[in-house]
């Protein structure tokens, strides 16, 4: 979330699309209800299903699963055609006026630079025109045909209301009604917030779904505003924190990149990772990359990371390809992985194509499951009737199952979706011999370290010399780890303007990432978290919930990254002169000598407005990107069909089968072959969560099992009639990868849509069942789902694929 949970109450319009906040995040959704009750805000829901969010909405519009970019591209077109944009904001705070390389093209559904064989783009032409001074060139009138604004206008001119309706199945008048609601917030003092979740991410074009909405929010001037922003409502209590710790093969804590083979040495790595300034006077905050990286290496390796050995740069593995979940299980399926650990993860249930995952696990030499619960994954080798048909004698994998403590049995910090880090305290011991995750991992590591110390082995140094300063090496305390993450001064840290002035004494905790240095004098396990445990103590444990502004900022509750800032890009809540667009919802303002107000300014505090330091401080140009060359699949989002489409073509490019689906999405060979076709699998299937359950956990909790005891699928009345299915009948749902059986819930809440002149029915499947649990046993829903991910994030396409259904 660029904003935070309570801030939703400051919105004039709450849009729920690509998610179902009422069901997936009920306690956060209260702030949408609060906006309705106290601000007379409107709530609109766009979804293939009439959800429980829709039940309390002012307006609901149906949309075909997998067609969000067509819908949102249509909104962009509407805003531009009807001149419903926040002009001053767009001109100054986005790259609308920037001139793009004249060789950039979009033709036949493809952007310039496409390589069909590799299914990727050479992005050389997706670039700014640079002046002699190296800075990007602008046309402030935004009339140049190569400026972003004109290119964008041209790109979305194809997304007419008729076209939107044809592709999405949303009735034209419903689409226009939604456009009107949204367009109202183009006024400088009106804001819309968007609450989305997996309904947008779990597509082969997931990142671009979100980008399209980000563009809308920029055109409306809603970023940085109280009650605005782009708000990803995330999945687990600490999914944000774990994302920030970047437990991804390709990333390092704090969104730094793992070195690759093109970065053979420290100097090259730092040069390549430090972005250039694209406009004068900008903060370009990533220019501090080297400070964050060196501090991380000092946390990892302490005294063994020295200037002389480039801070142990060689010990950092150099990445040679993709290691996301889909890539990982594909490698495992090919027999390229021997050992595997599932820590609090249940991939057999939660990754696409259960059969492929199960087959892959059976190729491991050993599997270690660390979990509080007996997961389905831990018993992938065990027969559970028709729900898991397997012959254990044919599974040679050794499986270890280690009991981990739950939240109630451990102390530590979680980071919520609004980036607020909060401390929690252990209430009781776990059952039997269960242990904390840290203790399990540390004990295992110490054993390995002892083995390497005693017997030697391949490259023992990073293991033997890893900084391990914990009082009990087998049991690092959460407090010790939190202090390490925050970072400290290893030597005195000096003021860069006055080299004699010590700003942090050696041994003290750092107060801010601005104090980090790249000379080895500071450590810090995650620069973004710096400040969470300063000399003032554990700020994540603060419990002062006072809210003097009434905006719900509660700056003394916990600690938000970065720098305790609650609303990102909040400089954009003011006009160029530093005056709030809406004085009633002042986030910050220019006071004459500094930025101040009801948040930590997302701006150098003394940057006077006439210095023209722009609000999007992480980019080299200081402005937000309507044209985004960083994306893998195009600088402007374009509608592509899901890999399994009910209409067999992309109505925007009916004559080019290469662009039916995202041309830059990665597809593995054997997976391409098991995509189903509409003639065999005519119905759009979408999978989702119910408010009564949490993923695959609460099937183990009796109270939740009582609320939704048995697996079911939802279908509309028209499809039910066609297939002779009555409410409560048992049905079989098949995709090209397998089948599940469940009870049919026949409902008015799943509309049949007219798409490209054809009736399209939707089958909805909640995911929560499996063969382990206290609910009635069920099939793993991901037996059905396709093994393909988003071109940027590789998040699997769980939300739109094809099935058939029959009564049994």
């Amino acid at each position: 979330m660029t904003n935070h949970w309570v801030d939703i109450k400051n919105a004039d319009l709450v849009m729920v699309m690509g998610g179902n906040a009422a069901e997936a995040h009920p306690c956060g959704f209260k702030w949408a209800i609060e906006a309705k009750k106290e601000r007379k805000a409107k709530l609109i829901v766009v979804d293939p299903r009439f959800t429980r969010s829709a039940a309390v909405a002012d307006y609901y519009a149906p949309v075909r699963a997998g067609s969000d970019i067509a819908f949102l591209g249509g909104v962009i077109s509407y805003l531009l055609t009807n001149d419903k944009i926040h002009h001053e904001y767009v001109k100054n705070y986005t790259n609308a006026a920037y001139l793009i390389n004249p060789d950039f093209k979009f033709d036949g559904g493809l952007f310039s630079g496409y390589n069909a064989e590799k299914r990727n783009y050479d992005k050389a032409t997706w670039s700014y025109q640079l002046g002699k001074d190296g800075y990007a060139m602008l046309d402030e009138t935004m009339q140049d045909p190569n400026c972003v604004f004109q290119l964008m206008k041209k790109h979305y001119s194809r997304y007419t209301p008729d076209m939107v309706s044809k592709v999405t199945g949303t009735p034209k008048e419903s689409f226009l009604k939604v456009c009107e609601y949204i367009a109202d917030t183009a006024a400088a003092n009106k804001t819309m917030t968007i609450l989305y979740a997996l309904g947008w991410t779990q597509h082969s074009h997931g990142s671009q779904n979100i980008r399209t909405m980000a563009m809308i929010q920029l055109l409306l001037g809603n970023m940085g505003m109280a009650g605005g922003g782009i708000n990803a409502l995330r999945g687990h209590a600490n999914v944000q924190g774990i994302t920030d710790m970047c437990l991804f093969g390709a990333s390092l804590p704090g969104y730094m990149g793992c070195p690759n083979e093109k970065e053979p040495d420290f100097k090259t790595y730092i040069e390549k990772r430090t972005p250039k300034m694209l406009r004068p006077n900008q903060m370009n905050y990533w220019q501090n990359y080297s400070k964050f990286f060196v501090s991380l290496m000092k946390s990892f390796y302490g005294n063994a990371a020295t200037k002389e050995n480039d801070y142990a740069y060689d010990w950092m593995p150099k990445i040679d390809g993709a290691y996301d979940t889909l890539a990982l299980f594909d490698k495992m399926h090919q027999g390229k992985i021997n050992g595997f650990v599932c820590q609090g993860w249940n991939p057999l249930a939660s990754v696409s194509n259960k059969k492929k995952v199960g087959d892959a696990l059976a190729k491991l030499k050993y599997l270690v499951v660390i979990d509080p619960l007996a997961t389905d994954t831990s018993e992938f080798w065990k027969p559970h009737g028709e729900f898991n048909e397997v012959d254990p004698s044919k599974v040679p994998t050794e499986v270890f199952r280690l009991p981990a403590n739950l939240f109630a049995e451990q102390t530590g910090s979680y980071t919520n979706s609004g980036r607020v880090i909060q401390w929690h305290w252990k209430a009781a011991d776990g059952p039997g011999e269960s242990k904390d995750d840290s203790e399990i991992l540390a004990t295992l590591f110490v054993k390995l370290r002892d083995m390497y110390a005693k017997d030697g082995g391949k490259l023992p140094d990073p293991i033997l010399k890893m900084s391990w300063p914990y009082r009990n090496p087998n049991k690092p305390l959460p407090e010790e780890l939190a202090m390490e993450i925050n970072g400290k001064a290893l030597g005195d840290v000096f003021d860069p303007k006055d080299k004699t002035k010590v700003i942090v004494k050696a041994g003290d905790q750092l107060a801010s990432f601005a104090q980090m240095r790249d000379d080895g004098s500071t450590s810090g396990g995650n620069w973004l978290y710096c400040g969470m445990w300063s000399q003032a103590g554990n700020l994540t444990a603060r419990r002062d919930n006072s809210d003097p502004s009434g905006l719900g900022q509660t700056l003394n509750w916990g600690f938000a990254w970065p720098a305790n800032r609650r609303i990102l890009y909040n400089r954009a809540s003011c006009d160029m002169a530093g005056k709030p667009w809406d004085a009633k919802r002042t986030v910050i303002k220019w006071t004459g000598d500094k930025w101040a107000g009801n948040d930590v300014p997302d701006m150098r505090p003394n940057a006077a407005p006439d210095e023209n330091v722009m609000p999007f401080i992480m980019t080299g140009e200081g402005v937000a990107r309507l044209f985004a060359p960083g994306m893998a699949d195009g600088p402007f989002p374009e509608h592509y069909e899901p890999f399994e489409t009910p209409i067999d073509k992309n109505p925007f490019h009916p004559d080019n089968p290469k662009v039916t689906s995202n041309p830059a999405a990665r597809v593995y060979k054997n997976d391409m072959e098991v995509f189903g076709k509409a003639k065999d699998f005519p119905y759009v299937c979408t999978t989702y969560r119910l408010v009564e359950h949490f993923h695959f956990w609460t099937k183990h909790s009796k109270l939740n099992a009582i609320l939704q005891p048995e697996q079911f699928v939802e279908i509309g009345e028209e499809l039910a009639k066609e297939k002779g299915i009555a409410n409560g009948d048992k049905v079989k749902v098949r995709s090209n990868r397998g089948f599940i059986k469940a009870v049919a819930v026949v409902t008015k809440r799943i509309p049949t849509l007219m798409v490209d002149g054809k009736k399209v029915h939707t089958v909805g499947i909640p995911i929560h069942w499996g063969f382990k649990g206290v609910t009635k046993p069920g099939f793993i829903t991901n037996t059905l789902t396709p093994y393909v991910g988003d071109a940027n994030s590789q998040t699997p396409e769980f939300k739109a694929f094809l099935v058939n259904i029959e009564k049994i």
Partner: protein, 295 residues
Amino acid sequence: MALQSLDIARRSATTTPAPGVRQTTEVAKLIDVSTCIGCKACQVACMEWNDIRDEVGSNVGVYDNPADLTPKSWTVMRYAEVEEKGKLEWLIRKDGCMHCADPGCLKACPAPGAIIQYANGIVDFHQENCIGCGYCVTGCPFNIPRISQEDSKAYKCTLCSDRVAVGQAPACAKVCPTGAIQFGSKEQMKDYAAKRVVDLKSRGYDKAGLYDPAGVGGTHVMYVLHHADRPELYKGLPNDPGISPLVSLWKGLAKPVATVAMAAVALGSLFHYVMKGPNEVSKELEDELEKEDAK
């Protein structure tokens, strides 16, 4: 005037007058159906707080689970898909005891002290005095109490009298994520409801209103409805609930006048209960009267 006063206003089958000197604030729970997302947090909080666990049932083609109130589910959500003015509405109502000011269950209850009405308005069942006869079920205009097969006792929502007694809100009200359940004094709740009705009317629900039916003297659980003119849309919420004429007659006519005259019959019933167990009116007597009526 504390909300948590547990002075007794009425006790089933007891003629002892209630204390009446202290002034007690009436409490109420307000269920704003227009902000309810049907998440069932109230169902869980109710079971968790009250240490009850209903059965893990089946899906019968709807979201309603458990499908009905039971001795172990004192509140359930009821879902209705309704088309109004060509627009789908998913009306979701939390069902449970209404805590009537004039409780039919209490009036019908023959077991001394099995049903208590506190001065703050809470109507509570005391299972240790319950004989499981089921007359509270007959007496209830909302079809709320359920008799357990395990212990032959009647159960229903207590409005968390144990929590209210120490100054806390009922578990369902506290837990409600969207604030669709509010708890406070009845006056506060009516004021809050009035504000919600104004908001709903501004959003096109012309008939929005408060459900606080006069037929039972008003209730201590009230609803804000978008369609207050048609409560039946909400899975059969009664339009004009009242106490069954049988119960009314018994209380109105028989209680003051006929107590002594009825003693013999009552004694008969008691012996019948002791001999044959609960929940049956003397069959022989009934048959006899049946014959007589037929004449």
